[in-house]
Amino acid sequence: MLKTPLSRRNFMQRSTAFAAAVAAGAKFTTTPAHAAREKELNILCWEGYNSAQVLDPFRQDKGATVKAESLTNDPTMVNRLRAGETKIWDLINVNNPWARKIMAPEGLIKPLDRATFEPYFDKMMPAFKAPYKWAMDEKGEQLIGMAQRFGPYCFVVNTDKVSRKTAEDQGWNLWNDPANDKKYGVLESDDWNVFNICCIAGFDPFKVHNDDEVAKFTETAKRVFKGAKVVGDIATMNQSLVSGEIDFHLTGGTYSASPARADGAANIRGITPNSGPMEGGKGGIVWIEITSPVNNPELSPLATEFLKYVQDPKVAHTVAFAEGTFNPVAQMGNKECFDLFTKEELDAIQWDSLEEEVARSVEYDIVPDYDKLLDIMTAAKKEASAG
């Protein structure tokens, strides 16, 4: 017998939750409410954490079934939880502002035990020392996640065509020069493209925009997409840069350029502008992934075990160079972890300029009027496709 009477409204709610669970994929078998979940773990993450290199040793050590689904944008992952999938996932790995500013206030994630996890931050790079802002809730009281991968993310150039110095000096104005039309591509990363078009238009993306700025954004978005030779994924961007189809592309950095650099294309380089429209005249944006326990009523005890596991120097190195893209990790502050990186690996992740690039960047944040700007940008993209 049902504990609560079945009304039309809660029937609809239950149906929606059921539909969401079905949509999440039949591979996730629903667990009876009373059953323990000691031996299973479900992770919603960016690619890398779902690789066998990272997961298999954990699976073997714990004798657990670990399932990980990777997605390539934050809003989709967060909205999966909003749509009722908190019952499915144990860990969520998204970029920094989403944990602190969105998921914690909405009750989508759970806090971690500070005494257990804060000592890990002390072994990370100096910028991540506890209490690390993006791992804490807005009040600065609760630890809501762990940091690991990070990197500057602005644009990428072929240094044989545009020198690093020119690109850093000219910065976002590369896209304001009509002579560059059809010489560049745009990475299909629409949330970041919104930030970057704001930068090209000359204002800070991470604030509410006035009518003049929205008008400038509209004009810039149309111009950027009209001048683009190609819009595509990371593989297409790197291939186009290496082959000479394009000279540079919007939205990119260590994350997107590292696969090409690791493959020997040292002339493909992520660039952080020397200056820009962000607070303090900064020109770059840096992302930091935060992995948090989901507010799952039946949270697997393996969630916290996994967060401890990826702090191990060897595992952190594996995470940095898991399949897909290669990225610096906060754990490189620990010499034991840093020493595992070869010269080639450090070169692939642009270790030589990482510190200065981070210093020239602001941290990724929420764009308050993102929905409006994204709609404008999507329309601009369609308009450009009409010729």
């Binding site: 409204r9 609809m12 709610q13 149906s15 929606t16 539909a19 944008n73 809003p75 989709t76 909205n79 909003r82 749509a83 591509g185 299909e188 629409d190 949330d191 683009a228 030779k229 190609v230 819009v231 595509g232 994924d233 593989a235 297409t236 291939q239 186009s240 082959s243 000479g244 189809e245 929905d371 994204l374 709609d375 999507t378 329309a379 993209k381 369609k382 308009e383 496709s385 009409a386």
Partner: protein, 288 residues
């Protein structure tokens, strides 16, 4: 003793036996479709089906420039179908009538690529067409000529669609051509028909079931194409399916994506119904 099919009141035995399959079909096909339709009437950027229904999403679509994406999808699907009809008919005719023992080998050659993921095949085309790639790199090194790259242009999107959907036109068409009895051709020739008359008045009408199925199948698949425009076209054109994808991902506007999908279903469904009304498949298949 009651006959096996008699059940008295309620469902017949046949209906009872069919019930599991019917339920499966309802859950597997009708439920997702109904969910999409229901979502299209939910307020923009909502994530449940419990809110008051609204037509806002449809109003937003008609106020936006989504017609560009609809236009691209329809245009490229129509061009793909037209080109494939022209390309496939001679091949189908050859496979059904002329190639003899080579036909199975050709069938195999046209089928094998279907075992490889569409994206992988399209990335293969990128390596072939990209600047300094297989084609342009060879022309450059062997002949010293450097033509402009044609990659990331609408023409290459069309090439990709023709390439990907060729088997879906070819095989029904081959079946259609092979359905034409040789005797009808011979009779027409004996009665003095020219080769053109035999083609126009005998072969084409009699092979029409296969041709129609090929045309419809290819059109429906091509109107839902997305990978060709994204991978080969570098998004120089944005088809409606890409619009739907953006709504469901970056925009997180499921109701808008659902409304676009519903409109696409209505447009494609209407076009297919109009064609079927003009060419009665049952009649040309000889069922009545």
């Amino acid at each position: 003793m009651a006959a096996p099919h008699e059940t008295g009141k309620g469902l017949s035995q046949g209906a009872r036996n069919a019930l599991p399959l019917m339920l499966f079909m309802i859950i597997g096909f009708a439920a997702p479709l109904l969910t999409v339709i229901a979502y299209s009437f939910m307020p923009p950027r909502s994530f449940g089906l419990t809110r008051a229904p609204t037509l806002d999403n449809y109003a937003d679509i008609f106020a936006s420039n989504s017609y560009i994406s609809f236009g691209w999808s329809m245009l490229f699907a129509a061009l793909t179908v037209a080109l494939l009809a022209l390309i496939c008919y001679p091949i189908a005719y050859g496979m059904a009538r002329l190639f003899g023992r080579w036909s199975p080998i050709l069938t195999l050659l046209f089928t094998i690529p279907l075992f490889v993921s569409e994206n992988v095949r399209l990335y293969g085309w990128i390596l072939f067409l990209i600047k300094n790639g297989v084609l342009l790199g060879t022309l450059k090194s062997w002949f010293g000529i450097e033509p402009e790259s044609i990659l990331f242009t609408p023409g290459v999107v069309l090439l990709g669609m023709v390439y990907v959907y060729l088997p879906f036109m070819l095989f029904p068409m081959t079946l259609g051509v092979s359905m034409v009895p040789n005797e009808t051709r011979e009779a027409a020739r004996d009665l003095g028909a020219s080769r053109w008359q035999v083609f126009r008045e005998v072969e084409l009408p009699l092979s029409m079931p296969g041709i129609m199925i090929g045309l419809l199948l290819t059109f429906v698949l091509a109107v839902g194409a997305i990978a060709e425009a994204k991978v080969l076209g570098g998004q120089t054109i944005i088809p409606i399916t890409h619009d739907i994808e953006i709504a469901f991902t970056y925009a997180q506007n499921w109701p808008l994506g659902a409304a676009l999908a519903v409109l696409l279903m209505i447009v494609v469904g209407t076009l297919v119904m109009l064609v079927l009304k003009r060419f009665d498949l049952d009649a040309i298949l000889g069922k009545r």
